[in-house]
């Protein structure tokens, strides 16, 4: 088990290293000169060259890469070419915002998906199961931003129950924070929940077909009891995988919802960075996203071990 841990950790670190090279290389080929964008329309060529020197863009690429990497390792994400402020704190702030959103969305998704998926699977031949299934199919088909727009129209503009957009940090005004969190979290959570429901359903269906569930019922457990005591933990393994992948896509997928609800998250920072050609910022944000995704994968790997004793003993 320790070995598995070490192996996973090694894979994690190597992936991280390779990603950093990929990200850096990608940024290096991005057209559009950050210096020119920063200087604007009709800046002179000397001024641009001067600024490139200031940013260190005139150095050979490997030097730039290792400087950047060295900074990252010390937690120094550098200074933005455009806004000239330190990138680290900004990324950290935005990441927090996105994490709130994603985690809240994920919680909603789970709260929706686990019971709904289970019922759908257990009753998949019954009308109730079929109806739920149809609802979830439609849910999967709705883009998150469309759900967001609809929620705004109904709950904010027409009913006036909740704010249409905006963001308040929880420390500043917890009440406002919650109010503003509800709609975006719902629009992420309901759509993701619908997707997750399908996976929960198929995982539970698989489990329902397992022999050990028949054994459990032969012992005298009723179908739902058997599912609860013997099925869910086994069904959790494939669901956790999907959850990990979803969390990863949500980190960036939230950008659309951030746009609809005017939330200053990591995704909008990335979009701004791209359009301002704030290359270093973009590079840092992408790296942070990749780190987050890899971290989630790593945690999912560890969760498997917790869930499935077969992975625990090597023999």
């Amino acid at each position: 088990m320790i070995l598995r841990l070490i192996e996973r950790a090694a894979v994690f670190l190597v992936s991280l290293a390779v990603s950093s090279v990929l990200v850096f290389a990608f940024m290096a080929v991005l057209p559009g000169d950050p210096a020119r964008v920063a200087l604007g329309v009709n800046a002179s060529d000397q001024a641009v060259a001067e600024l490139r020197r200031q940013f260190g863009l005139d150095r050979p690429l490997p030097t730039q890469y290792f400087d950047w990497l060295g900074g990252l390792l010390h937690g120094d994400l550098g200074t933005s070419y455009v806004s000239k402020v330190a990138i680290g704190p900004q990324v950290f702030d935005r990441l927090q915002v996105t994490l709130w959103l994603v985690v809240a969305g994920m919680v909603i998704a789970l709260v929706v998906a686990v019971p709904a998926g289970t019922v759908m699977a257990a009753r998949h031949r019954k009308v109730s199961g079929f109806a739920l299934s149809a609802v979830s199919q439609v849910g999967v088909a709705v883009p998150a931003f469309l759900a967001g727009i609809l929620l705004i129209v109904v709950f904010a503009v027409k009913l006036g129950w909740l704010p249409a957009n905006g963001w308040t940090p929880p420390a500043q005004d917890p009440g406002m924070f919650l109010k503003q969190l509800i709609l975006p979290a719902l629009s992420l959570g309901l759509v993701q929940g619908a997707v997750l429901t399908r996976y929960v359903r198929s995982a539970v269906l698989d489990v329902l077909r397992e022999d050990y569930l028949r054994t459990a019922r032969a012992k005298g457990l009723r179908p739902f009891q058997a599912l609860w005591r013997h099925g869910l933990r086994n069904a959790a393994v494939p669901v956790v995988t999907v959850l990990g992948l979803q969390l990863a896509t949500l980190l960036i997928g939230a950008v659309v919802v951030e746009r609809v609800f005017v939330i200053p998250g990591l995704g909008s920072l990335l979009l701004d960075g791209v359009s301002n050609r704030d290359l270093l910022l973009v590079q840092d944000v992408v790296m942070v996203l990749v780190l987050a995704v890899l971290l989630v994968n790593f945690i999912v790997d560890l969760l498997y071990v917790a869930l499935d004793p077969r992975l625990r003993t090597a023999s």
Partner: protein
């Protein structure tokens, strides 16, 4: 003994209608989908314009019809890219030695760290926003899914006795991959393809919304939805038609995928 599978039928019908719509739009649409006619802007649905017109006076129905081409194009490119890279990769990973397979799958997993939208935005920035670049990006992001599914399918095939028999008959690895492995993972490919198709359609809509998707004046459901935003209160139908079209298309491909999966699922098949 094969029962009619409702998902498969519903999915097939929806997808069929979309394909038909796209084909018809090549030869006929009620109006020229890109012709701006200021005189007839923002008309309500009527006999002459079934779905009404948009702010440019363009016929919404015609745009939806032509837009279905974009939707199919999007899916075909994304799924094509994903399948062309992912399928051989998956089969390769199943056939090579253990450590090389490990390396392939790790590299594949690494790609998972770059979600579709992120790749699309980055590609859009490098190569300019266009449907093609966006979809190549979505396709690349769908490679890991394909490779994983195909690999596990191919591994199962490689363990079967008919592969052993083929080897005993003297077949070399590559012919085995082509003659035995590939045909036996086609069901997996179809299922994965229709699911990826749905994902690509959604991604195109999201990208169009962010301004990284299909550029004008090519009609696209995603962009129609985005353009309709300022009319959300004055002419909500402009959002409803493309919104519903996207949802139905995604639904269709998802249903098709589900139906195909049920049909090919060996666990369900054993009650012949």
């Amino acid at each position: 003994m094969k029962r009619l599978n409702p998902s498969l039928v519903a999915g097939g019908v929806i997808v069929g209608v979309i394909v038909l719509m796209a084909l018809v739009s090549f030869v006929w649409t009620p109006y020229d989908a890109t012709l701006v006619t200021p005189a007839s802007r923002l008309l309500k649905p009527s006999w002459s314009h079934w779905f009404g017109t948009d702010k440019f006076g363009r016929d919404v129905l015609s745009q939806i019809m032509v837009g279905s081409r974009t939707t199919l194009f999007v899916g075909v490119v994304a799924v094509g890219v994903a399948a062309v890279i992912g399928v051989p990769l998956g089969i390769l990973a199943a056939m090579v030695r253990r450590w090389s397979s490990e390396v392939i799958m790790r590299a594949n997993d690494l790609l998972l760290a770059f979600p579709a939208l992120l790749l699309a935005i980055m590609f859009g920035a490098v190569f300019g926003a266009s449907t093609l670049t966006a979809m190549v990006a979505i396709g690349i992001a769908s490679v890991p899914g394909f490779a994983r599914v195909i690999r596990s399918g191919a591994l199962q095939v490689m363990r079967t006795e008919y592969v052993l028999a083929a080897r005993a008959a003297g077949r070399r690895p590559w012919p085995i991959a082509v003659r035995h492995v590939l045909p036996n993972v086609t069901s997996l490919i179809t299922v994965q393809a229709s699911v990826s198709f749905a994902i690509a359609v959604l991604a195109e809509a999201a990208l169009s919304f962010l301004g990284y998707g299909t550029p004008p004046p090519t009609p696209s459901w995603g962009r129609m939805l985005q353009e309709s935003q300022e009319f959300l209160f004055s002419a909500p139908r402009l959002a409803i038609f493309p919104g519903v079209a996207i949802a139905i298309a995604v639904l269709g491909f998802n249903l098709l995928g589900d139906g195909l999966r049920d049909r090919f699922d060996p666990k369900l098949e054993d009650r012949r």
